[in-house]
């Protein structure tokens, strides 16, 4: 065990058991999985992406590239989870990944032997022969070797939800900079949201032995936390990551509500997606330490100095017994100081700089640590763990040291990814040897080490100033506050990108196994932009998105090109800042709740009566009503359609779009919307209308009724209801604002039922006994508003079926009552309920175009409405509808189709070809748009769009349907199969 006796922010009173790769281990409350592994002396935790090299824990933060595990099991298993970010819980189970058969003995590490061939971009140069081998042999092998963890193939059992928040000042990160920013802004009375990735506030203060206000920094953190908690204008999200900045001050954040539990409590989400709207933002996201280049720098046991410091200080776990520190920064020395304070055995400190910082010699001497100044580590060796390292002093002397831990510190990269999301580019700063965000987006400030101001005093000061300034900017008055005094930490550093003479591979991107040689090769092969470098070598494309090693790689590129980093630049961070579960973005919009469902007023009644529902856009509509004697769906549909033609049927047509159009200019307005006239329509009359898009193709159709001089009631197709409402608003607000027209959707106000069939009048008369519905009093295309049992109702004499038919509308609250009454009163007439399928049969028998014909590719003339196009007025689409290609007589136009052998079946989507022709595109005459089995015709019938259309009536052609193996000889006929004279409808 490497656990220290005392200290740290763990609760020794709460031991937790967990399993890693089948081994039972224990840690404490307050541990991460990584710190618990460190405490248990576990070194080897994973295998690298390409070479399957043994890897250990490298960091103590979310930038971890190596220690990726599959957390949990079964449906809850989560591949690629960073052990450094997992809060330990009782019963945690984790498995290492990307190894076979075991982590210790990984056969795929053979790749490592072949690595001289597996250079950057090797696959572009080979695997081309024979061509067919790619999918069958090479690619499966490459894929299996690549990839990391395995995803579960079972549905994610957990739930996710979404939330919104607004604030004046959003503070991201709760280190010293973030805390003082939040404090300053909130004391000015601004509404503040503070978001912290960790479960504890404090940032680096949790991992460093620092003083603020004369007491340990953690005490200060607790105090500020207390103050902020008590403020009503502050909200805090812990275990939450701001993952992206979007336009207009919108930020995305994900809160991990239950990831630190074995499983979420029932009903409680695992994670929650926050959309935060902020007027000002302060990024206090800290900085990440850079690794150093030397051979074998990926051996387990080599760790970032800040991480070793964090494990010792915050988690009371020492990763080794013989620690060497290799640094080019002052913070490497600070780590040494803290480690010594924890009782760690540091045997040597190697500083690549010409001289160690002030006071270093004294500290080292008192702690008995050997110091090498102006020396570099050249190679590290060991097998699956670090055993020794070779260093070279300035005068070329080689030393060998034994060590089980090498803590490295190569400088600091400010964390500013979120600031780049909107396109701001980082620029190189020679002052701090790092990229900084000089031009953050409007409304955003960086503070503390995120801004490249690395000392604690700077962080406190910077945060305070940023918080106060943001509040002041919004008109709040920040009260004067004093910034607490704190311990001093030096922040000197020297960049070191390359070491000469390494015998082993020098890693730059640890997860993707990108080495300094790969960078060199890429540059040699002409991949000289940092973007090309990234894509050719995959530098920075791993799950850590290059947080750790990308700048090192870019520096090597610059070196190869003889340029500076300022010239070569860096790449843009994109959201998400840290990888985010797809489930969190989806929230509860999944499975049945993917999209809301719309139900008509008769839904429950329909369900009680055997309805099988079909999706019609968001609506659920009864497709048919199955009764026990029906053998199959076709039986039901045929029964329903037959009954309508024979007696009477009732169908819910409420889903049609309904728009109330009012105003003195309503008639003129409709004239401009439709190809035909509506201003001339008499009150109490309905008319069928067709609308075009401005490009001359058909947009929609439907009947519109004039209910009063200045009031029309428009219906649209179900599919286009929303689009047409938008179109109507466009036309009246943008195109013709001078017209006095008001419009509003009343789709939901009215439950509307078609009552169709020769007995429809009889039935309706029973329900509306006081009305005269005779042909004379209420002829075809009439409409009337009445009161029915105290509620407003409307009756229309409309017919989609070609039968004597009506549509009855009542307020939707009474729709359920109406359909029940209609069905009850119609019982002795043999009334049936019919669904959308029978509706389709009836309309195809009558040749009425619907959705399949209104494809957006057809003209009014194609559909047989050419003569409706008024010559007397302007309307949307008029001009472009007469372009040559839209009026070409050889355009496919609407016809009826029947199978030549009446027993054969037609299918929608079949193409239409001459009888004895080759199956070639140049013989294509059109296609079948809609089909139905027609009880009236005793066969399948169809509608189609056929070149030459009406001119081909009587011709024999064939319907070509290879995707369903059906070639059917067909006869072209009139699209009106039933009652072409239109006698029934007027009966």
């Amino acid at each position: 065990m490497n656990r220290l006796e005392s200290g740290g922010l763990i609760d020794r009173g709460k031991p937790l058991n967990f399993v890693f790769d089948g081994k039972k281990l224990a840690g404490y409350e307050g541990d991460t999985l990584a710190s618990a592994l460190v405490a248990n002396g576990v070194r080897l935790v994973g295998r690298s992406f390409k070479y399957h090299r043994p890897r250990g824990i490298l960091t103590a933060g979310s930038e971890e590239p190596n220690a990726l595990v599959t957390l949990r099991t079964g449906a809850r298993s989560e591949p690629n989870t960073r052990a450094t970010s997992v809060q330990l819980f009782e019963g945690l189970v984790a498995e290492s990944q990307n190894r076979w058969p075991t982590l210790g003995f990984d056969l795929m590490s053979l790749n490592n032997l072949l690595s001289p061939m597996f250079t950057a971009g090797f696959y572009y140069k080979t695997f081309m022969w024979p061509a067919s081998f790619w999918e069958k042999v090479y690619e499966p092998l490459i894929r299996r070797a690549a990839g990391l963890g395995k995803a579960s193939t079972q549905p994610d059992p957990d739930i996710y939800d979404k939330a919104h928040a607004f604030c004046d000042v959003l503070v991201v990160g709760s280190g010293p900079a973030g805390l003082s920013a939040a404090l300053a802004a909130s004391q000015a009375k601004a509404r503040v949201i503070l978001v912290e990735d960790d479960w504890l506030l404090g940032g680096r203060l949790l991992c460093e032995d620092q003083d603020i206000d004369g007491a340990p920094a953690v005490d200060w953190v607790r105090r500020i936390e207390g103050i902020l908690t008590a403020m009503p204008n502050v909200s805090m999200l812990r275990r939450a990551t701001v993952f992206g900045a979007y336009d207009g001050g919108t930020f995305g954040a994900v809160e991990r509500i239950a990831d630190h539990l074995a499983e979420p409590k029932p009903g409680v989400p695992r994670q929650r997606l926050w959309k935060i709207c902020a007027k000002r933002t302060i990024l206090a996201t800290g900085a990440i330490e850079r690794p150093l280049p030397f051979g074998g720098n990926d051996l387990p046991g080599i760790m970032m100095a800040a991480a070793v410091r964090a494990y010792a200080t915050r988690f009371a776990a020492l990763p080794g017994n013989e620690i060497v520190i290799y640094t080019t920064t002052d913070s490497g020395w600070a780590a040494a100081r803290d480690l010594t304070g924890c009782g760690a055995n540091i045997t040597a400190i190697i500083d690549a700089r010409a001289s160690a910082p002030k006071g270093a010699a004294r500290f080292a001497a008192s702690a008995g640590i050997r110091v090498f100044e102006n020396a570099v580590v050249v190679d590290a060796s060991g097998g699956r763990r670090l055993r020794s390292l070779k260093l070279r002093s300035a005068d070329g002397k080689i030393f060998e040291l034994t060590a089980d831990v090498l803590a490295i510190s190569g400088g600091w990269n400010p964390v500013m990814g979120i600031g780049c999301n909107l396109g701001s580019r980082p620029v190189w700063s020679d002052a701090i040897h790092a990229f900084v965000l000089a031009n953050p987006p409007a409304g955003m400030t960086l503070a503390g080490s995120a801004a490249g101001r690395f000392s604690l005093a700077e962080a406190l000061d910077d945060g305070h100033r940023a918080g106060a300034a943001a509040a002041a900017d919004l008109g709040f008055s920040p009260p004067p506050t004093k910034i607490p005094p704190c311990s001093e930490d030096a922040t000197g550093s020297m960049p070191l990108w390359h070491v000469e003479g390494a015998k082993q591979k020098v890693f730059v991107d640890f997860q993707h196994d990108v080495t300094d040689a790969d960078i060199g090769l890429a540059a040699q092969e002409g991949f000289r932009s940092v973007e090309h470098l990234k894509r050719y070598t995959t530098l920075g494309m791993a799950t850590d998105q290059g947080r750790l090693g990308q700048v090192n790689g870019q520096a090597l590129l610059a070196r190869h090109l003889g340029k500076t980093l300022a010239e070569t630049g860096t790449i843009l961070s994109r959201p998400p800042f840290l990888p985010v579960a797809i489930g969190a973005f989806a929230g509860h919009h999944r499975e049945m709740n993917f999209r809301p469902e719309r139900r008509t007023a008769s839904h429950d009644w329909a369900a009680e009566n055997g309805a099988v529902f079909v999706d019609s856009g968001p609506w659920k509509r009864a497709q048919w009503f199955a009764i026990p004697s029906d053998q199959d769906w076709l039986d039901s549909v045929t029964r329903e359609a037959t009954a309508v033609r024979a007696s009477v049927g009732v169908c819910d047509v409420s889903t049609l779009g309904k728009i109330d159009i009012h105003g003195p200019d309503a008639g003129i307005f409709l004239d401009r919307l439709y190809i035909n006239m509506f201003s001339t329509l008499a009150v109490g009359k309905a008319r069928y209308g067709v609308m075009l898009r401005e490009d001359g193709f058909v947009l929609d159709d439907g009947t519109t009724t004039r209910l009063a001089d200045d009031h029309y009631f428009m219906t649209t197709t179900t599919a286009n209801a929303v689009k047409i409402m938008q179109h109507v608003d466009y036309c009246r607000q943008v195109l013709w604002p001078e017209l006095n027209v008001q419009a509003v959707s009343v789709t939901e106000q009215w439950a509307q039922f078609a009552v169709a069939g020769p007995n429809s009048r009889l039935l309706l008369q029973k329900v509306f006994p006081d009305l005269d519905l005779s042909n004379d009093a209420f002829p075809y295309m009439s409409a009337i508003a009445v009161t029915w049992m105290g509620v407003p109702a409307r009756i229309f004499r409309l017919s989609f079926s070609g039968e004597l038919a009506f549509e009855v509308a009542v307020p939707a609250r009474y729709g359920d009552a109406l359909v029940r009454i209609l069905m009850r009163e119609g019982r002795d007439l043999g009334v049936v309920a019919y669904g959308t399928e029978a509706l389709g049969v009836l309309r195809i028998e009558k040749g009425h175009p619907a959705g399949n014909e209104l494809s957006g590719q057809t003209t009014a003339t194609d559909l047989g409405f050419g003569r409706m196009m008024s010559q007397k007025k302007d309307y949307v689409g008029r001009v472009l509808a007469v372009r040559p290609a839209l009026t070409d007589p050889m355009r496919p136009s609407l016809v009826g189709l029947r199978p030549a052998a009446r027993s054969e079946r037609l299918r929608g989507g079949a193409h239409i070809l001459p009888l004895s022709s080759e199956n070639r595109a140049d013989n294509d005459l059109g296609y079948v748009t809609s089909v139905a089995f027609s009880p009236m015709m005793g066969s399948w019938i169809g509608l189609g769009l056929v070149s030459g259309g009406q001119g081909r009536i009587g011709e024999r052609l064939r319907a070509y349907d290879p995707v369903r193996n059906g070639d059917v000889e067909i006869e072209i006929c009139s699209p009106v199969f039933v009652d072409p004279e239109g006698v029934r409808v007027r009966g």
């Binding site: 809301p596 109330d660 009552a817």
Partner: protein, 204 residues
Amino acid sequence: MAEIIIPRGAFELHLRDLPPVSGANTLKVDERLESAMATVMSRGDNAALAARIHDAFGIVLPSGPQRVSNGVEAFIGVGPGVWLAVFEKAGPQRASKLAASLAGLASVADQTSAYAVLRITGEAAREVLSRGAFIDFDPSVFGPGSAAVTTISHIGVSIWRIDDAPTFEVALFRSYADSFWHWLTTTCTALGVGLVRHGGSARI
């Protein structure tokens, strides 16, 4: 055919099935079935329309997204020159009466059945609603009398705040009621908030 036809609430079955919940953290909900609603669209002369409405109801027609009520009738701004009129305890013919009284000044469309209106009261109401709507419900921004047309869980809603309890009403097209209910109940569960039926109907 002398019979009484029964109006159906869009949330009727859900409300009936509400489990009895006690405890501190509850939200009271109920569907408003006894009110009539209409869309009122100005024909251009907003001032004359406002005067007419003031004469008839003593209500100062709001020019923005607000709700102004006289205790029985309320007008809620939902767009420039467009209001939702809500009449407590009004019959199914109320909208046509309103149309007649505003003739020439406004076009009126009966929407009594179009909207299902849920009244939501309780400490947790703000938090529950802000889970779904991307609207700032902070009391300093969305106080009593505020109104907004927006979406919750892909469903169009109009929300207005009535009092300090706080009480909100959420109006949505009735066909979406089941999906909305699903959102409401899962959100309450996630927050540990129990739903109880309002009981009685406040006249506000």
